[in-house]
């Protein structure tokens, strides 16, 4: 391990410790803590979950159960940009599936996969609640509506 990554690990560990400190004594804090831990690490490494379990005095098995129950949590590292294609009803009837295929083809990855260069992770989401603009997708925090497969390459280009 080089010094750089060591430093990085220390910074992250410190950030995690701060989160745990902030939630100390708060009931039902597991999910928000996991959310913040994922913010810090980009995903939820096993050791991080073990540490959270120990600090919260919650069984490790339960922390793992919760982390795998909710689709928001990721146990593997993800790409720098997260594409989330809406699979809602409105998007479905307006061609959401073809949109997903087009992105998948453009990036050469399937659902829940990450490009080799770590640039994109492709995910789906049940509904983004922007049905009026179907079909839609989100890249990171930005929502794109009224999409068509042709529009995809230009959008991906921006990231």
């Amino acid at each position: 391990m080089d010094l750089g990554s060591n430093n990085d690990a220390n910074i992250k560990a410190k950030a995690l410790a701060e989160v745990l400190e902030r939630y100390a004594g708060t009931e039902g804090a597991l999910i928000p803590i996991l959310q913040e831990a994922q913010e810090i690490y980009g995903y939820l490494p096993g050791e991080v979950m073990r540490e959270i379990a120990r600090k919260l005095k919650i069984p490790f098995s339960q922390v793992y159960g919760v982390a795998t129950f909710y689709t928001q949590f990721h146990l593997k590292p993800r790409g720098r940009n997260i594409i989330r294609v809406c699979q809602g009803t409105a998007c479905h009837v307006r061609g959401g599936a073809r949109l997903l295929e087009a992105i998948s083809a453009a990036l050469g990855i399937g659902k829940n996969e990450t490009t080799a260069d770590g640039r994109f992770t492709l995910e789906t989401v049940a509904c983004l609640g922007s049905c009026g603009l179907a079909p839609v997708m989100m890249i990171n925090e930005e929502t794109y509506g009224r999409l068509a497969p042709e529009k995809i390459p230009a959008i991906l280009e921006k990231y």
Binding site: G46, M49, R50, A53, P59, F60, S61, Q62, V63, Y64, G65, T68, F69
Partner: protein, 357 residues
Amino acid sequence: MADVTLTIDGKRITVPAGTTVLQAARDNGIFIPTLCHDPKLTPWGGCRLCVVEIEGMRGLPASCVTTVAEGMVVQTASPQVVEARKMMLELLLANHPRDCLTCSKSGACSLQDYAYYYGVRGDKFHGEKHDYPLEDDNPFIVRDMNKCILCGKCIRVCAEVQVNNVIDFAHRGFNTRVTPAMDLTLRESEECVFCGNCVQVCPVGALAEKASLWQGREWELTKVRTTCTFCGVGCNLEVSVKDDHVVRVRGYDNPLVNSGWLCVKGRFGADFAESPDRITRPLIRVGERGEGRFREATWDEALDYTARRLQEIKEQYGSRAIAALSSARCTNEENYLMQKFMRAVIGTNNVDHCART
């Protein structure tokens, strides 16, 4: 608590308020199948096999989590109920291996019993099945998660009885599985103490005692109730034997002591008795004292020799030159006899045992 009167299958039944419909039915000899229910664990209501029809209630409520109410009218075997139970069994079997022929649970398997009872073959659906690797990396328990029906009893027993919380449901929906954190094995988890209480509550063949595999079928076993030898708690055991060989040990439900639960030693440690290291014939020393070299002897020879030497020493040095250690592992009867032997036969009170507490 006040009593409640209800009707189940046309039979008027009076039970204490707060009783579940399931309990009320079973207490009155009415059959309702269950997979996830265990009176010693918190109610779960997940398997839905115990559904019944209750007048005025929507759908088919699960009787294990429905409490009785005054005037309630319950049907436990209406066509609708039977259809639902059959379908539930079809669904479970659709995702279950077809290896009853060689499954160690055969003959004691709830799923098998109910499938037989309802005449369900399990051939209605042909779709995806789980394909998990067999977990047998520890000497005590084999886990075949392909047979797991996700009743969650093992999780509850681990959380509520053993209070170790080693396992929980992970993932969700069709992919739900029971696992230690990180999908590790029990051994890898380093948290499991192998009490095996999960094995005992498993209604199907997903969990089994490793040493019992291929050693005997359920109907071949003779069951003996006895008391555990591994500590002072006095847990009650049910020892299952075939051909003078212990196939497995389970907890016997003595509600005043262990309520059927055990620890790793009580459940898995009885194999010491069949160890090849056992001395099976009397031995007489041939080498130097402490060297540990012996020859086999007959009982008569060994007992005669022992009696003669004790007699000689008693005569030569007096009774008090002889001492005995009795045993905190032997029975009361044997301890009684040992002290009687020393006092009445040898003539000394030099008898003690290792009683440290």
